[in-house]
């Protein structure tokens, strides 16, 4: 594995009465796009705000490129570029004036500024006022501001919000390019798995302030294959249940008198289905159709993961 760019350890954060983060830990490496995934209110933005120094931390450690956020703030911030929430810029100033504000503080040369402006494709708009920019343009200018000093870590909070499909694709290409070719660590937060699977190398899933786990996209896909659902249409669902109830590793779920779903948790789903079909027919149940339930996408994996955690959380709280 390449170098650790961001290291977060046991992060706790309470705002008022609400405990928002209960011990988040993860690491992100140089040269990868790290997806930070979770439903709304899970604590993604809070974690990102802590990472970018906007919010203080109650407990835990955060380091960026080896520098502690709390102890070596300025050094750590030199290695970060970030857009948190929306890319808000000074509306009364031109794009160029805006980008120069940050170039001055970060001591970025004018040539580099022109280079990144070209990279995000804004060279024709750079001398126009921000008030005339569309959201996509502001997003791109924000990106230019965040990457012009070649930070080791780029953090984008829900960057695809409000972008059209072309915009999303452009953004995705830029991010993949700077991560894979320039060796930057890109952390992207989102609540949409579908965006993540095309963009990210790994995703960390967070819900209710807890880190469920960090998975590579490949791992998630294999998780998807290990379970499969099938829809059965028969003449008597009750009778079918009586037949199938003793079989291990399947979940039976009756929909109505004639329909039920089967979820197969292990083994070769197709072989299991063949066995089940045979069993049903042998028991005089009229089997009309069997169809694989719409392919189990990563989205469902994500939802099932976060829901499971919710249940556990509740149990833990009661216990």
């Amino acid at each position: 594995m390449s170098n650790t760019a961001v290291k977060i350890k046991n992060l706790y954060k309470t705002m008022g009465k609400y405990e928002i983060l209960h011990g988040i830990s993860f690491e992100a490496y140089e040269g990868e796009v790290f997806g930070f995934l979770g439903p709304n209110g899970a604590g993604k933005t809070t974690t990102i705000k802590i990472l970018t120094g906007l919010t203080s931390v109650d407990e835990g450690e955060v380091s960026v490129a080896g520098f502690s956020i709390s102890k070596q703030f300025e050094k750590a911030m030199e290695n970060i570029g970030a857009i948190v929430e929306n890319p808000e810029l000074y509306k009364h100033m031109t794009g160029k004036q805006n980008i120069m504000q940050f170039a001055r503080i970060r001591k970025v040369s004018k040539e580099r500024v022109d280079e990144v402006v070209k990279l995000v494709g804004l060279e024709n708009w750079i001398d126009k006022k921000i008030s005339k920019y569309s959201l996509g343009m502001r997003q791109r200018l924000g990106l230019a501001i965040s990457i012009m000093h070649k930070p080791k870590v780029l953090i984008l909070d829900e960057p695809t919000n409000g972008l059209d499909p072309q915009g999303i694709k452009l953004l995705r290409d830029i991010l993949k390019n700077i991560a894979h070719n320039d060796g930057m660590c890109v952390i992207v937060s989102s609540h949409l798995m579908s965006e993540m699977e095309n963009m990210c190398d790994r995703v960390g899933i967070i819900t209710n302030g807890n880190m469920i786990g960090v998975y590579s996209i490949a791992e998630l896909i294999s998780q998807q294959n290990s379970s499969a659902s099938f829809m059965y249409n028969v003449d008597n669902a009750k009778k079918a249940f009586e037949v199938l109830k003793d079989i291990e590793n399947i979940n039976f779920c009756q929909v109505d008198d004639q329909n039920f779903d089967i979820e197969i948790n292990s083994g070769e789903p197709k072989a299991v289905v063949a066995d089940l079909n045979k069993l049903l027919v042998e028991n005089d149940i009229k089997l009309y159709t069997v169809s694989a339930k719409g392919s189990n996408k990563l989205e469902d994996v994500f939802i099932s993961l976060t829901e499971k955690k919710d249940e556990n959380g509740e149990v833990a709280q009661i216990g």
Binding site: M15, T52, T55, E74, M77, M93, Q97, I105, K107, G142
Partner: protein
């Protein structure tokens, strides 16, 4: 430090690219010109309405009809003198004739009426000369001795018996030196202390010694000449000094030389005790000697005081009133300070601002410095524009004749008038800096520009009123510890609020404590608060 400079530059660019900043600059320029313009307008108004006299021809023709019906012999005589000599009401000869005839007649009549019965008042009214009075008194049971007492009493006041027949040819010849000599001789003939003689005769001796003629031959209705006449501070200084000397010696001065209601502001202040009168005299003599006729110390910087100060509109009064621009500068700073944090939070730009490799403390101080720099630039802009307008309106004629002169225990100190007023500009800047720091603090804490600007505007405009009410009506002495009672150092220096123990040092300490508190709260608010 490089980063701080970059931050400061950033903040200044942010301010200067705003349209509001350009509008504010225009407001400051217009306000500066208007303030000085008020003085010019006041001068114009006064020359138009304040001293409206009829033309000489009209006066004389009016006199010719009035003299027919005038019953008072004394009045009639000097009216006739005016007609014969073509002397206007502003002519020094008219005043001299009035003094000799009317004023002296009044003394005689007052004395004679003590011997007259009610029915004889008409006869008393006919008394004009010393001889008339003597006859009347002797006729009505008065004695030579009584008259001698009266003359003695008059001479104790520094008055001698004038003789119109002797004076008339001198006045007709327009011989001001002769007139001065006549008065001096008259005073010297009195049987009083030399000290008193010198006090009464001083003005005339001074005029003779320094060859300073009375104001003469004012062309009535000639506004330009009138302006010059009002602007002639030398006469009024001599007059003030003469009055002060007489007051000190316990004698009454001759009214001559006082060619109008020209009491300067300064002379009214002088003279609570002998030492102060002496200092005032020393100061006036210094001013006369050095040809400095304008003392900026006499000009308080508030508008009302200048209006009461009388007809002294010149370069320096315009310059003094320009110090009021600090309120406008305060407005500018309060608006900038109120927006400087709130704007970033409301636009959401604060996140980009803070995700930079600089500590928030540096951003905080860069913003505070920006506010100060913008305010100071506004002040300098107003100063320069106002100065140019002042020169354009009033010219350069009065510039060299001003000083910042005061006299304590006989020691005259003369500072630069320009520095005196410039320092008032800077002291005014301290006041508005305090007020805009309040705005800055609220902006950093509440993220609301409306709240910040509103509260600090009320503080700036109402603060002094609140203190005045607390002290003046409610007699609350603790009010002196309020920031409003201290932030305006000009007021502290002029003791506007009347706190006996308040000094510049105590005011500076109160200001410093408040500033530390405000800035600590603001710093904490911005640097620790989560975004």
């Amino acid at each position: 430090m490089g980063k701080f400079n970059a931050l400061l530059k950033n903040e200044l660019i942010k301010q200067n690219t705003k349209v509001a900043t350009k509008i504010i600059a225009v407001i400051v320029i217009v306000a500066a010109v208007l303030l000085v313009g008020i003085m010019k307008f006041a001068q114009y108004q006064e020359s138009k309405y304040g001293y409206e006299y009829d033309s000489l021809e009209k006066q004389i023709s009016q006199l010719k009809t009035d003299v027919e019906t005038e019953k008072d012999e004394a009045t009639k005589t000097y009216m006739q003198f005016q007609i014969d000599n073509n002397a206007s009401v502003l002519d020094w000869r008219t005043r001299a004739a009035m003094d000799c005839l009317e004023s002296q007649a009044q003394y005689y009549r007052d004395f004679a009426s003590m011997y007259a019965k009610e029915s004889q008042q008409d006869e008393v009214e006919k008394i004009v000369t010393f001889e008339d009075m003597k006859d009347f008194v002797l006729k009505h049971k008065g004695s030579q001795k009584d008259i001698g007492e009266f003359v003695k009493e008059l001479s104790q006041q520094g008055q001698f018996i004038m003789n119109w027949d002797k004076l008339k040819p001198i006045l007709e010849a327009g011989d001001w030196k002769g007139y001065c000599q006549y008065i001096i001789d008259g005073i010297n003939s009195l049987d009083i202390d030399d000290e008193k003689k010198q006090a009464v005769a001083w003005e005339y001796q001074y005029r003779l010694d320094n060859d300073i003629a009375f104001q003469n031959n004012i062309a009535i209705n000639d506004i330009d000449a009138l302006k010059e006449y009002h602007a002639d501070k030398e006469d009024s200084l001599i007059d003030d000094t003469s009055k002060l000397k007489c007051q000190l010696a316990g004698v009454s001065a001759y009214g001559n030389g006082d060619m109008g209601d020209m009491d300067s502001y300064g002379s009214e202040q002088g003279g609570e005790n002998d030492e102060q009168i002496k200092d005032e005299i020393t100061k006036n003599l210094y001013m006369l000697e050095n040809e400095k006729y304008i003392n900026v110390k006499d000009y308080p910087c508030s508008l009302m005081a200048i209006m009461q100060g009388g007809s002294e509109y010149n370069f320096w009064s315009g310059f003094c009133i320009l110090t009021n621009i600090s309120t406008v500068v305060g407005l500018v700073m309060i608006i900038i300070a109120g927006n400087i944090f709130a704007g970033e939070y409301n636009q959401g730009t604060v996140k980009f601002l803070v995700i930079t490799p600089v500590k928030r403390g540096k951003i905080f101080w860069a913003k505070y410095c920006t506010m100060l720099v913008m305010g100071f630039v506004a002040l300098v802009l107003a100063f320069v524009v106002g100065l140019i307008a002042d020169l354009a309106f009033f010219g350069t004629a009065d510039i060299s004749t001003a000083g910042n002169i005061s006299c304590v225990n006989g020691v005259v100190t003369d500072g630069s008038a320009f520095l005196c007023i410039a320092s008032k500009f800077l002291l005014g800047f301290i006041n508005v800096t305090v007020m805009s720091t309040i705005s800055f603090t609220i902006s950093a804490l509440m993220h609301s520009s409306a709240l910040a600007i509103g509260i600090s505007m009320v503080a700036m405009l109402m603060g002094t009123t609140i203190v005045s009410i607390l002290k003046g009506f409610l007699h609350q002495n603790w009010a002196r510890y309020l920031i409003f009672a201290n932030s305006n150092l000009v007021s502290v220096m002029e003791r506007t609020y009347g706190f006996a123990t308040q000094t510049i040092l105590s005011a500076v300490i109160v200001i410093a404590i408040h500033m530390v508190i405000f800035l600590t709260i603001a710093y904490d608010g911005f640097c620790r608060k989560e975004i």
